[in-house]
């Protein structure tokens, strides 16, 4: 609107006030009538208008542009972060303390046995990440199982003289982390003997007890971001394959899991089940034992006339994966952020046609769906409308074992041992994952110099590193899992910061698309106006010079 409206003498002849003259040549020409010169006041006014736009653009626009588009990058401890990711900051070593309860043996002999067994262990164990350390101690009893918590003892070996004359035997206590070893009375080592059959036997037993844990931890280290020189000796490809198969089956770690028990029937009955009693009786004890590692919330549902995804009478192997009718069955994926584990009891007359060969514990009535849950096919009960608690015993027990597998619990050993192993595996896993998230964040920061880093990301990183240090210091201990969990959560939060994720893919070319629609329509008149003013000013000056 700043443009002045002036007439143009060169407009259409019909409107132009053209005077026709007849010069000497006799050819009629149209003489152009020049517009009168612009008044000084008008020129000055136009200058003021251009200046007013430019003043606003420069003194208000530029600061706004500068303030709103400068990228805030909080300082991140990049070297520390890469150190963690490369494994330089923390030696992933799990010192496991094994107590030796020698019972009535004299002190001297016990010390001797301890020394020899430790030797044998050290000879046997070639994996430095997993260190078994023996000490003398009392075995916990059923009444005081908490005793072990203070000392962080992973396992107690309870020695007792046995009846067998020549061979030692051992068995794992089903409810407590105790390895009972019965030895022939004559196999105790003498004071200066360099080796002992009993010591070697104990060492071998311990080795096989913890073999699975060692494998899993080596596998975790192997697949982590830690550089080869900082991680312990590798494991064979074979072991990697088996462990990775098992690990992919288990759910991602979470503090809380939501268990959904669903009863689906293909007809109108049964319409009720004693699920609460069954859970209390068969599942609760295991959940209570898992308490230090996970929390669980439970809900149940019943759905009548539920048709499965596969209609055939006998289910083949390939039918199992499509049996779940995801479209119609009300199985919500996740409630309140906690991952859901689904347990389905299906009452119908279908059977599984494949004999389960891999895991003998699995009945031919159930199968597990990796990272999702498990299904149990139940024959219609005699009492048509109601499923009593006893009928649910087998399904719930199966579910319990499936749940442990889904949580990533190792297969071998007694339950308390498996659970303490689970805690160690999980803390190693979380520690490595948090460290690798830190590494990714550090690489991202270096790779994208234009990404903004809010201060809460820096806070998250500092917190992560703090908790990683604590977790690393207490590796193998009870606090380790807690710290590793916080570290992992903080690292994830920092990496997936909302304002950063949006900029992950924001190349500089996009800025052209952002600025051009603006700079085009606004910039062109602004710049042209300024150029015209400068040109006019130069003209005026040269005319003044000429006149002078």
């Amino acid at each position: 609107m700043s443009a002045d409206i002036k007439n143009d003498g060169d407009s259409k002849p019909a409107f132009a006030e053209a005077t026709v003259s007849l010069p000497a040549t006799g050819i009629a020409t149209v003489e152009r009538k020049e517009p009168p010169p612009e008044k000084e006041a008008d020129t000055r006014r136009r200058t003021w208008i251009v200046v007013s736009f430019w003043l606003i653009a420069v003194f208000v626009g530029l600061p706004i542009w500068w303030n709103t588009t400068t990228i805030y990058r909080a300082n991140l401890p990049l070297t520390q972060m890469t150190d963690w990711a490369d494994g330089k900051a923390c030696e992933p070593v799990f010192p496991l303390r094994i107590a030796l309860d020698v019972g009535a043996l004299p002190e001297q002999e016990a010390q001797n046995l301890l020394r020899l067994t430790q030797h044998a262990l050290d000879d046997l164990n070639d994996f430095s990440g997993h260190h078994l350390r023996l000490q003398l101690g009392q075995a916990p009893t059923e009444t005081t199982p908490q005793a072990r918590d203070d000392s962080n003892v992973a396992l107690t070996i309870r020695l007792a003289p046995g009846d067998a004359a020549h061979t030692a035997s051992s068995s794992l206590h089903p409810h407590l982390p105790i390895l009972d070893v019965q030895y022939p009375p004559n196999s105790l080592p003498t004071a200066n003997s360099p080796s002992s059959g009993l010591a070697t036997y104990i060492a071998t037993q311990l080795g096989s007890t913890f073999a699975e844990e060692q494998n899993i931890i080596s596998y975790l280290l192997e697949t982590s971001s830690i550089t080869p020189e900082h991680r312990p000796k590798g494991i064979s490809q074979e072991v990697v394959d088996t462990v990775s198969k098992r690990m992919t089956r288990s759910l991602k770690y979470s503090q809380t899991y939501h268990l959904t028990f669903s009863l689906f029937t293909n007809g109108p009955v049964p319409s009720s089940w004693d699920i609460e009693a069954a859970i209390d009786e068969y599942l609760k004890p295991v959940l209570d034992m898992l308490k230090p590692i996970h929390d669980f919330t439970i809900d149940t549902q019943v759905q009548l006339y539920a048709s499965p995804g596969v209609q055939s009478q006998v289910l083949g192997k390939e039918d199992l994966s499509s049996f779940i009718n995801a479209a119609e069955w009300p199985l919500s994926p996740s409630i309140g952020g906690a991952p859901t584990v689904n347990f389905i009891v299906y009452i119908g007359n279908q059977t599984i046609g494949v004999p389960s060969e891999t895991s003998p514990g699995e009945t031919s009535q159930s199968w597990m769906i990796p990272q999702w849950g498990s299904v149990y096919l139940l024959a219609p009960p005699a009492e048509a409308t109601h499923v009593p608690s006893e009928t649910l015993k087998q399904p719930i027990l199966t579910f319990t074992s499936h749940l442990l597998t889904l949580l990533g619990t190792p297969q071998s050993g007694s339950l308390p041992l498996r659970l303490s192993t689970l805690a160690r595996i999980r803390s190693a896993d979380l520690l490595l994952r948090a460290a690798s998230s830190l590494g990714s964040l550090a690489r991202l920061t270096l790779a994208l110099p234009s990404i903004s880093i809010p201060s809460n990301v820096a806070d998250g990183v500092v917190k992560t590193i703090h908790h990683l240090e604590l977790a690393c210091a207490s590796l193998g201990g009870a606090k380790s899992l807690e710290h590793a969990r916080i570290a992992e959560a903080e690292a994830e939060r920092a990496f997936f910061e909302k304002s950063m994720v949006g900029q992950l893919y924001f190349p500089d070319e996009h800025k052209v698309a952002v600025y051009l629609p603006l700079l085009g329509p606004i910039g062109v008149p602004l710049v042209m106006g300024l150029l015209n003013e400068i040109k006019a000013w130069k003209n005026r000056r040269s005319q003044k010079l000429k006149a002078a």
Binding site: M1, S2, A3, D4, I5, K6, N7, D8, S11, K12, F15, E17, P35, P36, K39, R45, W48, I49, S52, F53, L55, I56, A57, V60, G61, I64, W65, T68, T69, S452, S499, G502, Q503, F506, H510, V514, L518, I522
Partner: protein, 423 residues
């Protein structure tokens, strides 16, 4: 046009008031229907939101809790004096009708002053051709946009009234009353603050004493001071009323940051729903800068006709402000008839009228398609608001052209009626 200039506007006002009260009472569902229309009620003017704020206020809760109410705090005691509008709606109806009549009265004075055709520094050769205040007030009172706004009861009618009174008082030489009125408008809606420069010039021109000329800078300083003091008083009383400064961010902050993206007739909401988050604040700055950059330039260019500056600025605000509604359009359209003398110079009056009508009729239809029928999407409604804004900007630029051409013809009388070209 052969309207007789009469001072007796009583009959007109009675008819206008009767029409409004008739519409209010004969169609009891109409007020609530119009209150819900996005074209009339914006997040910063809606009557529904006002009632929410009023409810909270009357229950001793901060009216800004819950993030629904974004209007000035001083409206609350005014409306809490009235009986509950859900039980005795008639009092609200009467209040809004009265506000409309007050606006019309101010408009009557503006038109009667003849400032549109002849100011202190400029006298149009066509100034004889003008409409009386009676006609201008009638055009305002019977404009369907004004009537719809009155029945929809947005609080923007108070801003309209305050702006018109500020202009009328400036014309009659009551500088301080005018500035107080402008402060009220700015307090209610913030954007009228941008009208301060042309308002100062208008007041300066109308109080100009040829014998003892005062300096413009002095008057401008005084006016700015007056506006500053009255705004501070209004803010302080708001603070005393609500007990915190929260109202600043909840009323003006919302307009500045556009946190409420409820669709409206303007251009901002769609743009900012699509905006990259990291550039949002930058573009908010750009949009506001664009809106405010017109004020100095227009004031300088049309220094001789300050009323034209105000009219054009109101037109620009009705298009480019963050939460525009047809109330802003009706304010702009109410001042346009003061420039009756340049109507023959308008080049696109037919196109403008068609486009505005097109937008008026298709806007609600497209909104219905998007929100209720589900057979359209947000682009439908945005497209029609683009058309609507195009129509209004055609009118604004055409009016600016006509006013400038009128000025130019004084300078070059020989060019009357000739086609012109920009060089």
């Amino acid at each position: 046009m052969s309207f007789q200039a009469t001072a007796g506007t009583t009959g007109l006002f009675v008819v206008a008031a009767a029409l409004r009260l008739l519409l209010f009472t004969a169609f009891p569902g109409l007020p609530n229907l119009l209150t819900g229309r996005v074209e009339i009620s914006t997040p910063v003017t809606s009557f529904k939101r006002l009632q929410e704020g009023l409810f909270l206020y009357n229950h001793n809760v901060s009216p800004y809790d819950g993030g629904v109410y974004h209007q000035a705090p001083l409206l609350l005691p005014l409306f809490s004096l009235l009986p509950d509008p859900t039980i005795y709606p008639i009092f609200t109806y009467i209040l809004y009708t009265l506000v409309d009549l007050l606006s019309a009265n101010a408009l009557f004075k503006i038109a009667e002053s003849g400032e549109g055709g002849a100011s202190r520094l400029y006298s149009s050769p066509r100034k004889e051709k003008r409409w009386s205040g009676y006609v201008v007030a009638a055009l305002f009172l019977f404009n369907p946009f004004t009537i719809a706004t009155c029945i929809g009861r947005p609080t923007s009618v108070f801003t309209t009234c305050a702006i018109l009174h500020a202009v009328a008082k400036a014309l009659s030489g009551n500088i301080f009353t005018s500035m107080l009125s402008l402060s009220f408008a700015a307090y209610l809606s913030m954007y009228p603050l941008l009208l301060l420069p042309p308002m100062v010039i208008l007041a300066y021109d109308r109080t100009y004493n040829y014998k003892a000329p005062k300096s413009l800078a002095q008057l401008a300083g005084m006016c700015t001071l007056a506006v500053g003091v009255s705004l501070s008083l209004l803010f302080l009383s708001s603070y005393a009323l609500t007990g915190s400064w929260e109202f600043l961010s909840s009323t003006y902050g919302i307009q500045l940051t556009l946190t409420d993206l409820t669709p409206n007739a303007g251009l901002w909401w769609y743009f900012f729903t699509e905006m990259f988050d990291s550039f949002r604040s930058f573009f908010l700055g750009v949009f506001w800068l664009h809106l405010s950059s017109y004020t100095p330039a227009l004031t300088i260019r049309l220094r001789q006709q300050p009323l034209a500056v105000i009219t054009l600025l109101l037109g620009i605000f009705a298009i480019f402000k963050p939460y525009p509604s047809i109330a802003d359009t009706s304010l702009f359209l109410s001042l346009v008839p003061c420039f009756r003398h340049v109507f023959p110079l308008l080049r696109y009056s037919f196109v403008t009228a068609s486009v505005v009508l097109y937008g008026t009729f298709l806007g609600p239809a497209f909104y219905h398609l998007w929100i209720y029928a589900g057979s359209g999407n947000a682009n439908f409604f945005y497209a029609i608001t683009l058309v609507w804004s195009l129509g209004l900007s055609l009118l604004v630029s055409d009016l600016a052209f006509a006013v400038l051409r009128d000025e130019w013809e004084v300078e070059r009388p020989e060019m009357r009626g000739k086609e012109i070209r920009q060089i």
